[in-house]
């Protein structure tokens, strides 16, 4: 990993993240705002796609999970009494959709994909998972891309219960409370799993 030199470790390791206001979107959708409905449906599929690739299965699982998340969100989003609860409902729904999708493919080995790794679409053509931001320094982009591929490989070796906590807490930016709600475990358990997972990932990444 790239060394960054000495620093004040007391600062939180934060990364800016665009966090949609799910509750506001749900409220708008409940008043018949079509744009809000469409944004919710797209968000649901985005979450399902990332969850499938990083925490659950592979590309085929991702498409199934996206479809399931889309339908569930369409049916239930406007009926949710507490819009504040939509976010954890969505992640819980996506988690369950991914698990159902995996069970359908019980004979196929689970394989995690990096978001930078090419994969094959249904039509057989290779498609890129993500494009690097061309506005960034090419060398920095290359280093980040390499590190992310390493991270994806290391994540595959992390047991599922730890991997899903890393995904929800670190990659999706859910709070400890939200992760606990989604997974149905205690906050203390979330913290313990997260710490052990971080130590594992650190060791594996530092050894490469």
């Amino acid at each position: 990993m790239t060394k960054r030199g000495d620093r004040n470790l007391s600062h939180r390791a934060q990364t800016p993240r665009e966090e949609p206001d799910y509750a506001a979107l749900v409220r708008a959708a409940q008043t018949g705002n079509q744009a809000a409905v469409e944004r919710l449906l797209m968000r649901a599929q985005e979450v399902a796609y990332r969850f499938s690739l990083m925490a659950c299965g592979g590309a085929d699982d991702a498409e199934d999970a996206m479809q399931e998340a889309l339908l569930k969100t369409y049916r239930y989003a406007t009926r949710i009494r507490n819009p504040e609860a939509f976010k954890t409902w969505l992640y819980r729904t996506v988690k369950n959709a991914c698990l159902i999708s995996r069970r359908r493919r019980v004979d196929e080995p689970a394989r995690l994909l990096s978001l930078d790794e090419p994969l094959h679409g249904p039509e057989g053509r290779e498609r890129a998972i993500d494009a690097a931001d061309p506005s960034k320094d090419p060398e920095a982009v290359a280093i980040n891309s390499r590190l992310r591929r390493q991270l994806a490989r290391v994540l595959r070796r992390l047991p599922g219960p730890y991997r899903v906590v890393v995904f929800l807490r670190e990659m999706e930016g859910l709070s400890t409370r939200e992760v606990a709600d989604v997974l149905g475990i205690s906050e203390a358990n979330v913290k313990t799993r997260l710490h052990r997972a971080r130590l594992f990932l650190r060791q594996e990444l530092e050894e490469r």
């Binding site: 620093r7 470790l9 007391s10 390791a13 409905v37 797209m42 890393v166 999706e172």
Partner: protein
């Protein structure tokens, strides 16, 4: 200081490093860890690399869908809203 010289006291700090990085320790506990890290190169390096791992994970998350996947997602939404009922999976 090498990893092999890590003491029992170091291991106690190790258990709290994630809480420290996440700024979830109380004031006195936080100061205790800060002081230990200043005086222990072994733990300081470990904390630094742990923090880099956390940053890498966070930078790897929340990314947009690739164009082809996004197009299929958009088509599913359009079909669903047009029909007013669940559409079959478009693969």
């Amino acid at each position: 200081m090498k990893a092999s010289t890590r003491t029992v006291r170091c291991r106690a700090f190790l258990e709290r490093l994630s809480l420290y990085i996440d700024d979830e320790l109380s004031g006195p506990a936080r100061r205790t860890v800060t002081l230990h890290l200043r005086g222990c190169p072994c733990c300081h390096e470990l904390a630094d690399s742990l923090r880099r791992t956390v940053v890498l994970c966070r930078q790897s998350g929340g990314r947009r869908l690739p164009a082809a996947v996004r197009a299929r997602a958009r088509a599913r939404i359009t079909a669903l809203l047009a029909e007013g009922r669940p559409s079959p999976a478009k693969r």
